[in-house]
């Protein structure tokens, strides 16, 4: 949930609650006040009426200033003190509505005779008044709340604007890219503080990342010389005389190890160089031409395993990338498809619309896709596998915004590379 909505939601819930409670409470409070008022005026009216009736001789007929429907006087057998107020509803033939009346029933003595007196006062006007007051108050409150809502939102937006622009910039920030993080200046000290802290953090991170990249490259470079010494000594060891078969076997194994180390080091160096953007030169390359060239290079290995290569479905897609990296990328996919193939297996290579598919027979089970493209993840126990080949493929694809995928269909391992979103 957005920060803004979170604050506003609280406001709205509070305002709605207040509105829901306040309006009825307000309504009843006013109604009570009004009724009290009506009651008081009816008491006053009663006193006035009694006074007037006292002076008349024929009490039952004479009540000139009051509407006969609102006044009743009944002779009682005996007098007892009685006073009551209540609300009655009566049908009004003029407005054709049932209207509320405040009714006072009281026992009085007029000219020493006991009477039951009933006084009615229409509440229709007061009811209307209360309703209007409530309506106006409600509307006003609503207006205030809505106004507050928009003002708060506006202020929040304005206040949080630097925060959101920082957030947007952070979204696009990549520690492995060379662009430094440029956060906007803001007058709000908290955000200015935040921006400064983030900028500092980003700078430190970039420096750490850079030094790590440089470390890999430097380490690989430094490794070359001792490797060269090691290799030369192994070669000299081969020249020693006499050489027994036991020694020869040991030397061969040592040489294989140094070769692997050498290859590993070269691949690490290549990964580091890709990280460091050292392959900026690009050219437009027709994929088919490159694949044919690579297949010709691997012809020996393909023939050795008696692998059938189907490369009929290739269109003339071309992409603009670094030639060396593309050779490494496709070379790795092709050599994998040869190396992990079975004898008399098959390879199918196709290109459609900048999409390359390399599918080959091999293991009967699909590869574990979760870590397939991670560094040093070996899918088999082959000694000669560095576990870096597919990581290299992934890294080159990432560099050019291409996507690489693995699929297993009908006992075929399918690697596909889609160059469509790559910047060319």
């Amino acid at each position: 949930m957005k920060l803004l909505n979170k604050t506003l939601r609280l406001y709205i819930v509070y305002a709605a609650l207040i509105l829901l409670i306040a309006v009825p409470v307000f309504y009843f409070a006013i109604k009570n006040i009004v009724i009290e008022d009506v009651d008081e005026s009816m008491m006053a009216q009663k006193s006035a009426l009694i006074k007037k009736l006292e002076m008349q001789t024929n009490g039952a007929q004479l009540y000139p200033e009051i509407n006969s429907t609102d006044f009743e006087l009944k002779l009682l057998a005996s007098y007892s003190k009685f006073d009551t107020f209540f609300i009655t509803y009566k049908y009004d033939s003029i407005s054709k509505e049932i209207l509320p009346y405040r009714t006072m029933k009281t026992n009085v003595l007029i000219q020493t005779k006991p009477y039951s007196m009933t006084l009615r006062s229409s509440l229709i006007d007061t009811e209307d008044l209360i309703e209007r007051i409530c309506l106006i108050t409600g509307l006003l409150s609503l207006l205030i709340i809505v106004g507050l809502f928009f003002i708060t939102r506006y202020i929040s937006r304005k206040v949080w604007h630097p925060f959101y622009s920082t957030l947007n910039l952070l979204h696009t920030f990549r520690v492995d890219k060379d662009e430094t993080l440029q956060l906007p200046n803001t007058e709000i000290s908290e955000f200015s503080d935040l921006n400064q802290t983030i900028t500092k953090l980003a700078t430190t991170n970039m420096a750490v990342f850079k030094s790590q990249k440089e470390f890999t490259e430097n380490a690989s470079h430094e490794m070359q010389t001792p490797l060269a010494v090691f290799q030369s000594k192994v070669e000299l060891l081969m020249q020693t005389n006499p050489l027994t078969s036991e020694q020869a076997a040991l030397i061969t194994e040592a040489e294989q190890a140094v070769q692997r180390m050498n290859k590993l080091n070269k691949t690490l160096l290549l990964l580091a160089k890709i990280d460091n953007n050292q392959f900026s030169e690009t050219e437009t390359i027709v994929l088919e031409a490159l694949i044919r060239q690579l297949l010709a290079q691997y012809a020996g290995a393909i023939a050795e395993k008696n692998i059938a290569v189907d490369s009929a479905e290739m269109d003339n897609s071309s992409i603009t990338v670094n030639r060396y990296l593309l050779e490494v990328l496709i070379g790795n996919l092709l050599t994998n498809s040869i190396r992990y193939n079975i004898n008399s297996g098959s390879i199918k290579i196709s290109i459609t619309n900048k999409r390359l598919f390399v599918s080959n027979t091999g293991l009967q089970t699909p590869l574990d896709t979760s870590k397939l493209f991670h560094r040093f993840q070996k899918q088999n126990t082959s000694n000669s596998s560095s576990g870096l080949g597919l990581a290299l493929v992934k890294q080159i694809c990432d560099l050019y915004n291409a996507t690489v995928n693995y699929d297993f269909k009908e006992v075929n391992h399918i690697f596909s590379v889609d160059f469509n979103s790559s910047v060319t």
Binding site: E222, T225, A228, V229, M238, E304
Partner: protein, 224 residues
């Protein structure tokens, strides 16, 4: 033949000298920039092995000095850097060859031999080993004065074995020599065996002695 090894890693220079002792080379070592400049200024060498990163300076400056003084020493750069740019830079400064570390001593030996052959001024591009004569300019091999029909790879391989004669060349070194960078992509050395078998067959057919020996599982040696 005088060779100067400009390399700060003493173990490596020792190894190179040890491997090259089969040839009639006189090898000298310069282990830092100053010593290298002194030596190259005072003497002429047939071939200089030049490391780029040296204590005291950049090896490329030695190359520049040589060219400025119009010296014609052959130069092979041996460097830990192996990017295309580094190679182009080195060759642009006038190096004859570029070999990235780590390298096979047999490969280095073959490259030195090639540089020396190219710089030989008497126009004699022939190497003779008993009944075998190799014209490295025309890329023709004769056995008992009869032309030996070899494929390009077979010629390369035989020349490689001959220039490293009496030394064991590992299968890895042969694979790297023949296939370049692709060599380490496949585990199989069967194609080397096939090439060697063909060469031996062709040599035997022209009445040549069997010089190529298989040494246990390691590799091959051209025994003279």
């Amino acid at each position: 033949m005088k060779i100067l090894i400009i390399e700060d890693e003493k173990e490596l220079s020792k190894g190179i000298i040890s491997y090259l002792k089969e040839e009639s080379y006189v090898c000298e070592i310069a282990s830092d920039f100053k010593m290298a400049i002194e030596k190259t200024e005072s003497f002429d060498y047939d071939c200089i092995l030049l490391d780029i990163s040296l204590p005291g300076g950049n090896g490329l400056n030695i190359l520049k000095e040589l060219k400025a003084n119009k010296k014609s020493d052959g130069v092979i750069i041996i460097s830990a850097k192996d990017s295309i740019d580094d190679r182009i830079e080195g060759l642009n400064y006038g190096a004859d060859d570029y070999l990235a570390k780590p390298f096979h001593l047999s490969e280095l030996s073959a490259r030195i031999a090639a540089v020396i052959r190219r710089r030989r001024f008497d126009g004699n591009s022939k190497m003779v080993i008993n009944e075998i004569s190799i014209d490295t300019f025309a890329k023709i091999i004769n056995v008992n004065n009869c032309r030996l029909e070899l494929t390009k790879k077979e010629y390369d391989l035989l020349l490689y074995l001959v220039t490293n004669k009496n030394r064991v060349i590992s299968k890895n070194a042969i694979a790297a020599h023949i296939s370049g960078d692709d060599a380490d992509m496949f585990d199989s050395f069967d194609f080397i065996y096939a090439h060697i078998k063909n060469i031996k067959k062709k040599l035997a057919a022209s009445g040549c002695s069997d010089y190529i020996k298989s040494v246990y599982g390691i590799g091959y040696r051209f025994d003279v």
